[in-house]
Structure formats: C-alpha cells, structure tokens
C-alpha cells in the first residue's frame, strides 16, 4: 500500500487500534452523541503533528487531545450545568475509566470483523470476500459474477464504507458506560 505515507502508517498502526478508548473518554466527558465528533477532531489534530515520531505513547497522547477537546466543548456549550465543573476536578480518576472498555473487547477482533461482514448486503459481502479471501482481482471477480468492473468496484467501496462505519460504532458506549455516568452524577 504505497499510497500511505509514513505518518499514515503510524496513524493506522499506533493510533487507530485504540479507537474504543478515545470514544469512551469523549462520551464520558461530553455525551455519547458528541463522542464521534470529538474523536474525529482529535484525529485531525494528531495527523497534523509534524514530529509524530517523537510521541512515545500515542494512545495517551490522543487521549489527552480528546480530553482537552471535550473540555473545550463543555465550556462552550450553553447547556452546561454548573456542577459539571465541580465534577471535572475528579478527572484524574476519569482517565482510567475508558480502559473499562477493554473488558467489553473480550470478543476477539476477528470475531467482530466477521460479525460485521455478516451484516453486509449479500452481493457486497460476496465481492469483498472474493477480493480479500480468494485474492481475486476486480477484473476476475467481474467475469466470475457476470457484472461490470465498475459495479465490482462500487461493491468493494460500499462494503468498505459500511465496515468502517460499523467498526467505528462497535465501540459505542452502551450500558457499562451509562452506569458509570449515572454513578458519577449521583456522587455530585
């Protein structure tokens, strides 16, 4: 994949694998519905760091960016309750909270991926698997399925979009985090 620059390779191998942690932290500080935006903003910041090679702990680095972006968002929001800021003092504890997500990832990565593939539209799934399991070129796939090359490419692209989206949303905080959130509200 020569179309990835060094910074992209670093981003994919060192930053993206911890997506669930970033999202959990963002959801914890802001809200579940804003978490995706915050994480995307953080990714945008990270990808502009010129000296990325000197970042010794990429996960912690991105978590810190998420933290700061989330706080900014809270401050700018007009709907903030006053007691939010009191609870923000306990943020050192919050830093470890997102790791709770690692527990829900007891499902192995490939199990997750296969589940999502299972959810793809049939023709889309067929094409993706022919391309990625059997390693057939798009031209050969087109011939074998009697469809046009551009249709094959559309199916692969669609599958990629759906999978990227569902993998991203798989880390969506569910009961565990809302329990944590309730617990924190109750202690205020």
């Amino acid at each position: 994949m020569s179309w990835l620059r060094d910074i992209d390779r670093w981003f994919v191998s060192s930053v993206l694998p911890h997506a669930n942690s970033y999202k959990a932290k963002a959801a914890f500080l802001c809200s579940v519905s804003e978490a995706d935006d915050v994480v995307q903003d953080a990714y945008a910041r990270v990808l502009t760091v010129a000296d990325y090679r000197s970042i010794s702990n990429p996960r912690a680095f991105v978590l810190a960016i998420v933290h700061n972006l989330a706080i900014e968002r809270l401050r700018r929001s007009k709907v903030v309750r006053i007691d939010y800021f009191a609870s923000l003092e306990v943020l050192d504890v919050a830093d470890s909270a997102p790791d709770a997500f690692a527990i829900t990832a007891g499902r192995s990565d490939l199990d997750r991926l296969l589940r999502h593939i299972e959810g793809l539209p049939p023709q889309c799934r067929r094409v993706i698997l022919m391309r990625k399991i059997d390693g057939l070129s798009p031209a050969v796939i087109a011939e074998q399925l009697s469809i046009s090359l551009s249709t094959v490419e559309k199916h692969i692209a669609k599958g990629l979009v759906l999978l990227t989206k569902s993998l991203r949303e798989d880390g969506r905080p569910k009961d565990h985090l809302s329990t944590l959130w309730k617990a924190r509200s109750n202690t205020n």
Binding site: S33, I133, T164
Partner: protein, 318 residues
C-alpha cells in the same frame, strides 16, 4: 452519531482506495484530494485500516468444507458465498501470525486474546487443534509462529482439549511456569502464586526441568517449587463440575464454599460471624443458583444472609 458529512468523507475515501487498489486512480488527483483537508486524510486512514484488517481473512482460503474441527456458522452466513465453508471466527483467526501488508504490520492480530468477566464462561477454539473452555474471570492469549503453538494463561482457570489430529504439542505458559501439553485433556487453575495443572488424559511436561505429569495426576508449580501427586477423585469431580456449571462440596468448610462461589460473583459473600467459617458442607450446587445455596445453608445450619448497602451478601447466625 455519524453526520452526513462524515459519511460523505468515508465514501470518498473508500472510492479513492478502491481506485488506487485497481490501479485506475490518478495519483496526483488523489494527493490533491488528500491534502485539501486534513479530514480527508483521516477518513482515508480509517478506510485503509479496515482494508488492512480484511487481510486477516486470508488464512480462510482453501478451508475444506465439513472439516470436523470447525463449528457451524450462524444461519445468515450460510446462504450465499459462505455456504460451502463452515468456521468460527476464533477458530480461523487462531493460526495467525502478524500480518504484514506492503511494509506495515497490523500488530493487533499478532497475538489473540480472549477473557471472561466475573461469572462469565466462554469456549474458544485456538489453532484448530486446541479447544479452551474459560471459567470465570479468566484471561488467555495464543499465537502460532514458526509452527510453535503457544497458549498463555494469564488469569483464572481453563480446561484445554488438545486434538491428536496434529502432532504438535501446545506450549502452555502461566505466570508460575511453563508446560508442554501433548494431545489430551487438561485443567489449569491459577492461584495466588502457583499454577495447578491436572492431566485428565494425555501427558504434560513441566519446563524447563522436564518433569512429566501423567494422566490422573496434578502438578502444583510455583516456579520454584513443585509437587506432583495423584489427583484424588474429588478434585477430578470438581473439575468436571465447573464445566457443567456446578460447585461440588464434600465436607469442606463454609469458608471454602464461599471462596468458590465468590469466584463467580462481582458482589462477594462475606462471613460476618467467624464461628460460621468452620462449618462443614456437602452437596452439589449450581453456580448460578446462589439463592438455592443460601437457602440450603439456612435450612441446614440456620445461617442467614442479607445484602448490605454496597450489595455484598453478609452471612450471620440466625
């Protein structure tokens, strides 16, 4: 919630990747698109990561239908492309080494890890020739590299079935010590400072000292001290019992019974009256039937149980 803008970006990125992969993309146009906005670069990397993770499917190629070591897939997958292939994600993923694609390693798959929460049980198939049943609060990892199959037991208790279908033994690594397991059935339980390995069938070898543990024996290994003895029928019963979701008591103290139950509970049982600890209990109880257990000890010994403010279960004399 994904905005429509985000969705558009992901679609654009996916189109670019597919075109690049097919060789039909205008490289310059792609570079211009990518540098136009940092968010384009982010979206492209996310899509590239998905593309790379799909490479982990490659070992599925050539899998034979009706391979008896595989398990049936859920209904929806059986139609269409996958009809001829029967597999589970865990089983296939098991033989993976780190995937290297065009120069970068997708290290997330270098070592597979599975764990259970307190009170949870799971079965996984690793390597195709090894099945592992994880008990409560257990954590394992596995990896095959250069034909050496390693299984790490990091925490908890696991039952292992090593197939005779492949001649390769399994290298079992625990915090207290290492064992080589030949085809057979084994139970390994980690305690505070030791590993207790019971060989039900087959044989194991303790490394590096090379002491053999035979079928019907239990080895307790702390890394510095070792004891191998014949497993008594009761401990064999207990091993079979947890697999069936039971706790077997044959005259052990209430302390022991409570410790066993507590392995499966997030909110623990606490014996408030020290005099109760020494009471001896017998019977087989379902792990999930805590209420049944509490009712039995109340009926037999007059022990009362109540829940305190934190949710712990307190046992006292009636």
């Amino acid at each position: 919630m994904e905005s429509s803008k985000q969705h558009e970006l992901t679609e654009e990125a996916a189109s670019w990747l597919v075109a690049l992969d097919a060789g039909s993309a205008d490289r310059d146009a792609f570079e211009r698109w990518r540098s136009a906005d940092i968010r384009h670069a982010v979206a492209f990397n996310e899509v590239a990561a998905t593309w790379g993770s799909l490479d982990a499917l490659r070992p599925l190629r050539g899998l034979q239908a009706d391979d008896p070591r595989t398990l049936p897939v859920p209904q929806p997958l059986q139609r269409g492309f996958m009809t001829r292939r029967r597999f589970t994600g865990a089983g296939i993923a098991a033989g993976l080494a780190a995937v290297t694609v065009g120069g970068w390693s997708y290290n997330a798959f270098a070592r597979r890890t599975v764990s259970t929460l307190i009170g949870e049980r799971r079965s996984v198939r690793c390597f195709g020739s090894l099945s592992v049943d994880l008990n409560t609060d257990t954590r394992i990892a596995w990896r095959e590299r250069d034909s050496i199959r390693k299984l790490w037991l990091r925490r908890g208790e696991a039952a292992m079935a090593v197939d005779a279908s492949q001649p390769k033994p399994i290298d079992l690594i625990t915090p207290s010590g290492r064992f080589i397991l030949q085809p057979g059935l084994y139970n390994a339980r980690l305690r505070a400072a030791s590993c207790e390995l019971t060989v039900l069938e087959g044989s194991g070898m303790i490394m590096p000292i090379r002491r053999v543990v035979l079928a019907g024996q239990t080895a307790v290994y702390t890394g510095s001290s070792l004891s191998i003895h014949d497993a008594d029928p009761l401990s064999l019963d207990r091993i079979r019992a947890w697999r069936r979701g039971n706790i077997v008591l044959t005259g052990e103290s209430l302390d022991y019974a409570v410790d066993e139950y507590n392995r499966y509970l997030s909110r623990k049982i606490i014996i408030a009256d020290p005099g109760l600890s020494r009471m001896r209990l017998g019977g087989t109880f379902a792990i999930t039937d805590l209420v049944g257990f509490l009712q039995a000890i109340r009926a037999s010994f007059g022990i009362r149980a109540f829940t305190d403010a934190s949710g712990s279960i307190i046992l006292t004399r009636a």
